[in-house]
Amino acid sequence: MVKNNPRKRPIPWIRLSMVVVLVGAIIVIAAQILDQKLHYTSTDVVPGPIVPGTQYPDEAFTGIDVPQPIDFSHKIHAGDNEINCMFCHTYARRSKVSGIPPLSKCMGCHTVIATEKPEIQKLTAMWEKGESPQWNKVHDLPDFVHFTHQRHLKRFLFDNQELDVSDAKRVCSMCHGDIAEMTVAKKSRPLTMGFCIRCHEANEGPSDCTKCHK
């Protein structure tokens, strides 16, 4: 029947193109799965202190090392000295982005504290020249994803009766891992759509496409 139908003519290039597409697809998927296996290392990274009253994500990831112009130590600030994350990342509770602290904030302390250390002297030199450090992006999401820090902090920190605001780093660690143990930040959660969705499902977050994809 098919043979008699003149409209169903064979397409000569179709076999070749199918093979090319298939091989291409297999290579792409295999490369990404391999990459996933290399980076998803749930045992290597300490997930960080958990947030009470919350289904805490347990997925870990080993991001690439991103060198920074100043070897800033999160461990000294947030870990040893227990400075609240939001003291420097002051925009996190007010905006989409948590923001890199302005240089004036660093200099508020470092005109007197630890001025002998080479990294602080680097910082002071930049401040005196009026230049901001060119930090490199660590946690990036694709442009079509609209994530807001403000909303997540409200949900898990400010509206959370069981957690004190001084313990903000527990909430931050849900997506950023145990930054308080790091020097410069390194990606330690996958931050993929699957990761977001599983946490949203566990904690009854919204599941509308348009909440994140605007």
Partner: protein, 726 residues
């Protein structure tokens, strides 16, 4: 048959399944295409202002300079960049609305083809130079002869500054050039009802009879009128009758669109007046006997012959106007764009007088108490004067800003020849347009979103405001300077008195406005900037009526040629919008064509000429020829061919250059007998196929719904009985 069992359907099935599989797996795969991890920089503030929060926009008020309407805008600024413009709800001009040209001002601001550095002509070519070098050259040459300024419509303190500079270099003539204007209407209003800019109350009218006035698109203050029009259309719904040879945006919205023969609008108005007096007992108070005699000669039968409009239609228009008071009659656009344009405006005002609309839907405007700040409204009569004066050697030094005379002037005016006779030409511009390319010195200006300024809106209802323009962000191109700053410096160098106290235009503007408002307080100044405007004193005018001269004669030879209509559109405007991709990409309101010019032809005309939709056609006038594609549709008089203006640039950046054609270039140079406005609907052209056809890029390929009920419709007959009065 023997090669493969896989047919197209199976192929698509496989592709779909495979795609779905990849998409599902993709949720957990980091995207390497879009992530900028470790690749992009994030740069922190050194010491931010207290109110600055990254990721959160701050809205600043300013004023749009896209046309002379002077709409108030709010610009959203985030991380030091302006990202979005909206209308300022407090502005009496646009009341929170903003047209597409205002929205697209962002693309002018961030345009990659903006001029970054000053340029000086050396050995015949423009080369980059320093500001010091360019200014020194200007100072050396600017007093070397008779000087003149060319601007677009200009007002506020920029006007004062330009005229101060002109005075200091010993010049006298200021040519304000604007292709799209309402000069004929305003001149007629000034002569006949003693107010050049009366308030027009669309919302109070029950019927609007518009002779070519495209008040939703290009007439005086389109955003303002669109708001009044919305009010006019709320129940009880007013009826709009539009008479014009080629459909405009307003025509497309009309209940009754009358496709009139180009140039016969005056006769139609007289025919309607005749029917009003003879059939509906309208007395015609205040109309002179001479005019009444003229009206009597124009009975609907005679007029039907002149205008190619059925007698019944003329009588229905009259009946509708007689039955629904108050009404409103307007004239502009194509009706005033011919050698008899002034008569059409005079006839429209005469109809308003007959119908008692003067004082109800047309009321007195207010005059600024400081006339030196008022608008110098541009018109195309000045374009013609500029060409004539330049050719006669009356100009030696020319300063140009905000106008593009070399693009706008028809070839028949010999603008380029005149331009070349001018010894020294300085162009202040942010884009390298046709005029800037031919200049001796080009000074790069800041964009409208980087500059200070004050403007008087071209149309205002009630109180008069000074609209303020403030920078919304740091200059994108650091070596550009504001218009006010450049002219202030030039005026100081030329020895203009009283400017030594001011280091920059901001200082001048602030001190001038403080003097105007009699306040020196920082707080009040910030209040003006936050509002984007401040009220200034004005005086009421009083309307009177005395007949204008109406001459319905048409110099129309029926030689079988078509009349070219160089139609104006919101979007490209007079060509200034052509370098903005958003405007190029927005489909034309009538033809839906994007990124190219087109020529509108009636199906009957097209058939007789053997032209099909998408055919390239040569349109030839006595002074030139353009080639573009035919767009066949019924919204045009069969004796006309309409080509929109704005495209066909030979410069103005990558998006505008070599895109479309410029119908202004082939106009025959005829002008309105009273105002001197260049006639845009009075050139005869011959049209023939160029032998090629290519489908046009347009959004809507067909003008029928094929029963899909995309837009709710009722039959014409039912509409006549229920909603349409005429």
């Amino acid at each position: 048959m023997n090669q493969s069992k896989l047919d197209r359907r199976q192929f698509l099935k496989g592709l779909g399944l495979g795609g779905a599989g990849v998409a599902l797996a993709g949720c957990d795969l980091p995207s390497y295409v879009t992530l900028e991890q470790g690749e992009e920089n994030v740069i922190s503030y050194l010491a931010p202002n207290e109110y600055v929060i990254p990721g959160v926009g701050v809205w600043y008020a300013s004023t749009c300079v896209g046309c002379s309407a002077g709409c108030g805008i709010h610009g959203r600024v985030r991380e030091g960049r302006v990202l979005k413009l909206e209308g300022n709800p407090d502005s009496g001009v646009n009341m929170g609305r903003l047209c597409q040209m205002g929205q697209a001002a962002l693309q002018h601001h961030f345009n990659p083809d903006r001029i970054a550095n000053p340029m000086v002509r050396k050995n015949g070519a423009l080369v980059e130079a320093s500001w010091d070098e360019a200014i020194a050259l200007i100072n050396e040459k600017s007093k070397s002869g008779k000087a003149a300024w060319v601007t677009g419509t200009i007002s506020g303190h920029q006007r004062v500054m330009a005229q101060t500079h002109l005075g200091a270099i010993g010049g006298s003539r200021h040519y304000a050039v604007e292709q799209i204007n309402a000069n004929v209407w305003k001149t007629a209003c000034k002569d006949i009802i003693n107010d050049p800019n009366p308030e027009i109350h669309l919302e109070k009218a029950k019927v609007i009879f518009s002779l070519g006035a495209d008040f939703l698109g290009t007439f005086i203050s389109p955003v303002h009128f669109a708001a009044s029009y919305a009010e006019f259309r709320t129940p009880p719904r007013g009826t709009l009758i539009q008479a014009e040879p080629a459909m405009s945006l307003t025509g497309g919205n009309a209940d009754h669109w009358v496709g009139i023969k180009p140039g016969s609008e005056t006769a139609l108005a007289l025919g309607v007046a005749n029917a009003l007096m003879n059939n509906h007992g309208v007395a015609g108070n205040g109309i002179s006997n001479a005019t009444k005699t003229l009206i009597n000669k124009h009975d609907p039968e005679t007029v039907a012959g002149i205008c190619a409009v059925p007698v019944g239609r003329i009588e229905k228009i009259a009946a509708s106007l007689a039955a629904n008071s108050p009404s409103l009659v307007l004239a502009g656009g194509s009706a005033t764009g011919n050698a008899n344009g002034y008569s059409a405006a005079a006839a429209a005002l005469m109809l308003n007088q007959m119908l008692g609309n003067i004082g109800t839907t047309i009321t007195a405007g207010r005059e600024l108490a400081y006339p030196q700040l008022d608008l110098v409204e541009g018109n195309s009569a000045n374009l013609k004067d500029l060409a004539i004066d330049a050719n006669e050697g009356k100009i030696d030094v020319l300063f140009v800003s905000g106008a593009n005379p070399l693009f706008l002037a028809p070839k028949s005016l010999k603008m380029l020849e005149g331009w070349n006779k001018v010894g020294f030409k300085v162009v202040l511009s942010s884009m390298l347009d046709e005029t800037a390319e031919a200049a001796d010195v080009v000074l790069p200006l800041a964009s409208s979103l980087e500059d200070w300024g004050s403007h008087i809106p071209s149309y205002a209802k009630g109180t008069r405001n000074l609209a303020l323009q403030q920078p919304l962000m740091e200059p994108v191109f650091p070596n550009t300077r504001g218009f006010g700053d450049v002219v202030l410096a030039l005026a100081k160098d030329a020895g203009a008195p009283g400017l030594d106290d001011y280091d920059d235009y901001y200082g001048y503007l602030r001190s001038a406005i403080s003097a105007l408002k009699k306040t020196d307080s920082e707080k009040e100044w910030n209040g003006f900037l936050m509002a984007g405007q401040t009220q200034i004193p004005s005086l009421g005018r009083k309307l009177s009526y005395s007949d204008g001269k109406i001459t319905p004669t048409m110099n129309d030879s029926d030689d079988g040629n078509l009349t070219l209509i160089a139609s104006a559109r919101m979007g490209m405007w007079d060509g200034r919008g052509a370098n903005l991709p958003w405007l190029q990409e927005s489909p034309d309101q009538i033809s839906k064509v994007v990124w190219d010019s087109w020529a509108e032809l009636h199906p009957k005309t097209a058939k007789s000429l053997g032209i099909k939709d998408g055919d390239y056609i040569n349109i030839k006038s006595a002074s030139g020829e353009v080639t573009t594609r035919a767009f066949i549709y019924k919204g045009i008089h069969p004796g006309a061919i309409a080509v929109p203006i704005g495209r066909g640039h030979s410069a103005l950046g990558r998006y505008a250059k070599d895109n479309g054609v410029n119908p202004l270039s082939i106009l025959n140079g005829a002008s309105d007998s009273k105002t001197g406005e260049i006639a845009t609907t009075a050139t005869k052209v011959s049209v023939k196929s160029a032998g090629k056809n290519k489908q046009m890029a347009k959004l809507m390929e067909i003008d029928r719904q094929h029963g899909r009920k995309l837009v709710a419709t009722i039959s014409a007959d039912k509409q006549r009985r229920t909603e349409g009065g005429a």
